[in-house]
Amino acid sequence: METKDTAASACSCSASAQAPSCGCDAAVRSPAEIRTTDSTITPANRLDHFAARWGWKRESHRVVPGLYRLGNPSTESPVFASANYTLSFDALRSALAGFDAWILVLDTKGINVWCAAGKGTFGTDELVLRIQSSGLENIVSHRKIIVPQLGAPGISWPEVLRRSKFLMEFGPVRARDLSEYLKTHKATPAMRRVEFPLWDRLILIPVEFVHVAFPMVIVAAVLWVLAGPVAALAVVSAVLAGTALFPALLLFIPTQDFSTKGLILGGVVAIPFAVVFGTNPLLPGWANAAGAATALLVIPAVVAYSALNFTGATTFTSRTGVKKEIFRYVPLMAVMAVVGSVAGITLGVSRLLGVI
């Protein structure tokens, strides 16, 4: 993306500035800066998107908030609102290739539209403030602004209308449907629905995994030393099952609750380890039982816990439901993890002491 300043101005809104304290206040606001952008996604943009997906430099995927010119917009051209997260902004400007439009970028602290709407930063106050500080009413002759549907949890159209005189129109969920939408300004039911297809789930895996990779390596290394490579492999398998396999298989595991889905998946992953630990001919029967129990209790508990935590990343779990899950299943997971660990530790200590 090329972002050129076309009108030098006294206001300096740095990307990280707080919205209300941004450079210019009301007194010196008049000719707010209008930046120019285009619809091209450059290799540098792609690199930035890749880094954003891996959670790399979380704070740096930002666009300067304010008004942007896309193509050669006139006073009649439509106005679109976006977040100052590069992935959101780039999705919008590339979807609008060939259109002349204005893009009003809200300061959402580098967070995408839906998340920011949930937190309230993609919200009524910020939108009204940006409409006013950009001087939008002198730039366009109409009084309409197209807001992505997923901004709706943060923005109340009656309030925006009352405070800014701009009437909001809710565009489709996905920017890529915009060109179709703009033909009639009516969204089909499909354009209004949030799905959670395989690709969208897979794309979350990096961030989920990066999060737990470091503790996983430590635990696996410790277990390798104390209990051998198979135990280390069990740790890695449990973590991969919870963070990578679970998102991929989410909709195929036949229960509703994430915890039970996780328990099922974890149970399946645990079976081979239970077999290995439970059929060691050199050890007495109770030790085999303890080994198998460790795998069958700890692995499902770990996978179920990761699964439950994936609720925050999905597009359909209600807070009421997640809370119910926490109360129903976290105690069970804790008991399983503790009993399984005690069995495993007993076994490990007995071996170290040479009891068996």
């Binding site: 997906r53 959101s88 995408n112 949930g118 997923l150 969208d200 129903r328």
Partner: protein, 128 residues
């Protein structure tokens, strides 16, 4: 307070008699069709088609799909809808519970969990 609530919970009970294994069959969504002026905004903002267009008023078509995002309530001009909105993020709620905070107020989903929570594009709190 909303008479429709009973109706929809009964519906849900029928649809899913084994409620125990589905934590998501009930939500805090309440809709009062008597107030509705049929402006259709709720059908536009809901990401899960919970509301459907009707002749006299919006219809609560699919209440169990509600994710409590709050978009409908926030954009209904006559307050015909109520919902306790919040992000359904176990990571943040468990964190709050462990720190002895209230699970309901403390889910700003801050920190850097890898989700809506932390944030990720398209999902979680994704969208565009």
């Amino acid at each position: 307070m909303f008479k429709s609530e009973e109706v929809h919970q009964n519906l849900e009970a029928k649809k899913n008699p084994s409620g125990f294994f589905d934590s998501y069959s009930e939500t805090s969504l309440k809709y009062d069709p008597d107030r509705c002026i049929n402006c259709k905004r709720c059908t536009q903002v809901c990401p899960h088609a919970v509301f459907a267009e009707g002749n006299e008023h919006a219809e609560l078509a699919n209440p169990a799909s509600c994710m409590e995002c709050g978009a409908c309530a926030k954009n209904c001009p006559v307050q015909a809808i109520e919902v306790q909105s919040g992000v359904g993020c176990a990571w943040a709620m468990i964190g709050a519970a462990l720190r002895g905070k209230d699970m309901d107020t403390e889910c700003s989903c801050g920190g850097d969990a890898g989700s809506c929570c932390g944030q990720s594009e398209k999902t979680g709190c994704g969208g565009k």
